[in-house]
């Protein structure tokens, strides 16, 4: 690896000023499971590594009915899926964080890093999108919020300005009768990058007969994670017993813009979008029914 400067600030203000001072050359470090790999491969030339794990705000998990869930950007996956409150209320999120890498990776990898890395295949990003999460960002010019579906702008590119830090992620408290599921397809059973991933969330009416609202998001079928509003809209107001799930799958396929690469051909990926959208919705609906 090429030499660089390493600092570990203790406060948010210090972290922001270090990032700001480093400019283009500086990068925040959370779990390092993307950043260190990329730096070692020479794909990411970094002069200043700012380890943000010492900042209190990036390490919190807080959860209340009123404010929903807040997860610090550096909180590693294992802390998320071991949290009883999250397990109970945010099953869709647990789906994602428990499949990122293996147990060793999950000891470091963060949801914030997954989002900032902005890979089209990022498993964590999809769950954030379907759960309507927002990114809490702070920089030299103050704080702002970015909807997670707007956060990734191109492969490896995000909406942060130079000097800005992702502090945490806020996930709203789910409505009653809501359910969510994320699943991906990989050739092995673990340790793989999604060939295609689909996240789906639904809210059912009081009778649990029809769908009030739904969100669908796709991994690895476009340059960024793909929030498919049309597919969710297609489900609005439809009965769960109807063929609306099939229709949503077709909308998802229409939105997908996959390419051929070594992980799968475009045709195969389109096929998988259909299969996985139906599977994701089925589980999301079941979870909502069991609420």
């Amino acid at each position: 690896m090429k030499p660089f400067e390493y600092v570990k600030p203790n406060t948010l203000a210090e972290a922001i000023s270090a990032l700001d001072a480093g400019g283009e050359d500086a990068r925040a470090l959370s779990g390092g499971t993307d950043l260190i790999v990329q730096m070692r491969a020479g794909r990411n030339v970094v002069g200043n590594v700012i380890d943000v794990k010492g900042v209190t705000e990036t390490n919190v998990i807080s959860h209340s009915k009123k404010d929903g869930l807040t997860i610090g950007s550096s909180v590693p996956c294992y802390r998320i899926y071991n949290d009883e409150g999250i397990k109970k209320t945010y099953a869709g999120l647990v789906d994602s964080v428990s499949i990122i890498g293996g147990t060793g990776i999950q000891g470091r990898a963060s949801l914030g890093g997954n989002l900032c890395n902005a890979a089209p295949s990022g498993d964590g990003i999809q769950s954030l999108i379907i759960l309507g999460a927002v990114a809490n960002v702070e920089g030299p010019n103050g704080a702002r919020q970015i909807a997670t579906e707007d956060f990734c702008t191109a492969p490896g590119q995000n909406a942060l300005n130079p000097g800005e830090l992702l502090v945490s992620l806020s996930v709203p408290e789910p409505e009653s009768n809501a359910g969510a599921h994320y699943l991906r397809f990989i050739p092995r059973n673990e340790m793989d990058i999604a060939v295609v991933g689909v996240g789906a969330s639904v809210v059912l009416d009081a009778e649990k007969k029809s769908i009030v609202s739904a969100r669908i998001s796709l991994a690895s079928v476009a340059p960024t994670p793909l929030f498919v509003e049309a597919a969710g809209d297609a489900l609005k107001g439809t009965e769960i017993a109807s063929d609306s799930v099939e229709k949503a799958a077709i909308f998802a396929q229409e939105a997908a813009r996959p390419i051929d690469d070594m992980r799968g051909t475009a045709d195969y990926r389109l096929h998988l979008v259909g299969v996985l959208t139906k599977r994701a919705l089925k589980v999301a609906i079941e979870r909502a029914e069991n609420q």
Binding site: R188, I193, M262
Partner: protein
Amino acid sequence: MATTTTVEQKTTEKVIGTRPIRHDGVDKVTGRAIYGADINLPKMLHVKILRSPHAHARIVSIDTKQALDIPGVKAVITGEDLPEPPSQMQNLGEGAANLRFLSDNAMARTKALYKGHAVAAVAATELYIAEEALSAIKVTWEILPAVLDTESAMAEGAPLVHDDLPQRPMEGDQAPPPNVARYFRFNIGDTQQAFEESDTVVEREFRTQMVHQGYIEPQTATALWKEDESLTIWCSSQGHFNVRDQTSNILQIPVSSIKVIPLEIGGGFGGKIGSTIYPVISLLSKKAGVPVKYSMTRAEVFEGTGPGSGTHMRVKIGAMKTGKITAVDVSLSYEAGAYPGSSVASGCQNMFSPYVIENAFIEGFDVIVNKPKTAAYRAPGTPQAAYAGESIIDEVAESIGMDPIDFRLLNVAEEDDSRVDGTKHRVIGAKETLEAIKNHPHYKSPLNGPNQGRGVAIGYWGNAGMTSSCSLIVNGDGTVNLVEGSVDIGGTRTAIAMHAAEVLGIPAEDIHPVVADTESVGMTSITAGSRTAFASGWAAYEAAQGVLKELIERAATVFETTPDQVVHEDGTFRSVSDNDKKLTFKELAGRLQRVGGPVIGQATITPRGVGTAFGADIVDVEVDPETGKVQVLRVTAAQDVGRAIHPSYVEGQIQGGVAQGIGWALNEEYVFNDEGVMQNPGFLDYRMPTSLDLPMIEAVLVEKRNPGHPYGARGVGEVPIVPVMASVANAVYRATGVRYQALPMSPGNIIAGLTQKDH
């Protein structure tokens, strides 16, 4: 779980067949064992190698000046620094390689022949400085058209990878196609007539991709060229004598000036037999005057070492309604990589060796392509051919409505039957191995759902003998030091020690095995060809016989009698005439100093009684028809092991071979782009099975003793991979109705096959 089926019940041994804890075990579970990369020497430099970014390109110029100017850079070499080799053949054990090609593969001189081909190397005080120096080396390339598969390489007018490839004419003075380095042919009987008389004839084409052995320890070595022109190499190879001889040949320095010290090795599977790195680091050390260490990155392992061949195979087979195979007609083309020497000949010889076939035409092409030079990989060349052969056998059996095991049993080869290459089988257990799977409860058990299927297949491997040396030294406390020359990749220290312990009548634990360097033990060939426990074990057996003879003489002195009046039983020496006169092994050892001094024994052998091996599998799979994913549910692997010296490590070889075969069957492949650049040179996208991808693997040990070994052992390491891809393919067929004739059967390919079937 594992079961052992003994074909002939004659077991009297006390140590052979037991499961002692391996001698190097504690070092390996505590992290103390020293592997290739674990060595650190004072003033040691770190090496980086500049590799060709192109699959085929002429080196117009290389400028290393700027790299040498970087502070911390101590030496830089290019192909020019290697001595010009004479064109001479050198025996590399598994496959011969021309020395010139070997030398060129170590470092390109005029042309790079594959992406990853070494063109320059740097030694520097820090790894990152060496890395920086690589980017300061300026190479001017003239990019040439590349050939990337056997069909385009052999097409008329194809670009030539070598301008001066020595080509021998094929049968009938016909010139071979372009880029064909060698052509093989076996022809017996009259295939044409036999096909005409057959009730059924099936003809199919098969394709497989390049695959890697996937050893977890990257190739690594350390070299020190001293002021007196002597060279020491520390390495983790499959044979340090081979490293010594190869380095001596390429650098044209005497073998006596080279000492090679074997460190522990983190897997090899054939891939660490020949390596290109030793001459390179030796020359760097010579220039720098201090030790240098080189460890490959994982990407370099994929792109810069020898993988297993990709293939294109055409197979035609005929059979009678009764189930008798009438004839086969086969053409195999194997990628050699950038230099001659794929294992296609082994594929030709072995693919139908489980059967009696009277009419056969089998030809093989060794084809040069712009990809890494292939190397041995577990039963080199045979798993690919067996995949084709055993898939088509399955199809024929089905077409005449026979059970696939019964069909195989009907045609199975036994002692004295001839193989297609004319060699007669010795005592073999093909039939017993097939019966073991036929009679196994697994074969009779029902499948548990739709989209599931069960497949079977059998495989053959010839095994090797080669040369092994061993010496034994009896210690005063009754223990014995065993010095051997076989690198231990999977518990062979213990298997070898057990041979000596059995002869001497002492526990395996009382033997202390050591793998010694090239100056401390007699020449010992590579750990490969499934030969190590068989041949080095046998050397230990012979050395122990010598020790025993000497000990009997010493006991005679103690008993004041003649050696013919002393018997040795279960580690006790006893006077025949006087029952009170007896000494345990330990007691006698304690007295040796007084009756003539220490006792040593040594042996070097080149055994002939190699026992060939058969393995047969039952594999159950479930295929997700929507995603194309294949999950292996259950595997039973039976194998004729002759006699299991240490059953746990025999089972381990079988389980490991099956796991590699499943990886090859389902997901593993080199993916190249159109420019010949590998797209997946890492463990993320070269998908080897994880623990979550596999079930328990039941090994069934069939023991049909090999009369060519003192305890009946056969080599066990390689054959278990041979039948796996075919068994999986046959199972996938029964689950989906599609015969997949290309590997890997990755999810995308499965869906493509299912889609085609529906149209």
